[in-house]
Symmetry: C2
DNA sequence: CATGTAATTCCATGCATGTAGAATTAACAA
DNA sequence: TTGTTAATTCTACATGCATGGAATTACATG
């Protein structure tokens, strides 16, 4: 991942509606959530939501999958991983304390959602 | 750190000029770099640079310190750490593989720059 | 105090982004 | 094929952001 892509991804996440949307999809996990449900859940009109979903999609942060007549969205694990790696690359040049977050309990969390 | 602050920080980093600026300050480390040098280094006019520096400052990502008649900027370790924590919080709810980046060699890097 | 240097604010311009109603496409069901 | 539901594009409007020249503030030195 290079500067331009990272900037695109960060730009997609820099908007409160989209950050909330992103969070919701992260929590909803691998099964994702259909657009209509997201629209009611976050109280965002469908055209507006569609715009934001597209932003996150082209930024490589979420994926779309049609199920019948509804379209389900879910987070793109690879895309997020790449962004995280880019940021930690940036943050940690010779400064390991920055990224060595002490209170991240990732490894103690259940993995049954994967 | 809450949604609004995170969105503010992400917004500050979402712009290519500022992302480059941020990178430069990360690399320049704890001694930072005066605004004039940044201006010539990145070939950004002073008023434009000043605008971007302010954006990163109010987002809590960099710090300013006057030395004589020049003002030196450097990264704000705490601010960056908070943003990283917020993002990993978001990214890792029940999905530890996302943030458990395998190829991060932070702990093998020299710490003499701190 | 006067001069030179560093950086910032002021301000106007142009471009990009967010928003949401109306029209449109896509899919299923009878 | 007609009707219903889901989601998207089209479109227009308003707001916000990036840019950089000109004027301004802050500081050091003779």
């Amino acid at each position: 991942m290079e500067l331009h892509d990272a900037s695109h991804a960060l730009s997609a996440l820099s908007q409160t509606s989209r950050l909330e949307l992103f969070r919701l999809l992260v929590i909803s996990g691998d099964e994702g959530m259909p657009a209509g449900q997201i629209s009611t859940e976050l109280d965002i009109p469908k055209p507006t939501l569609s715009f934001h979903l597209k932003e996150l999609s082209t930024a490589g942060l979420i994926l779309a999958e049609r199920h019948g007549r509804s379209i389900t969205y879910k987070i793109n694990i690879e895309g997020i991983r790449e962004l995280m790696e880019f940021l930690t690359e940036d943050c940690c040049q010779g400064r390991p304390d920055l990224c060595n977050l002490s209170n991240n309990s990732f490894n103690t969390l259940p993995t049954n959602l994967l």
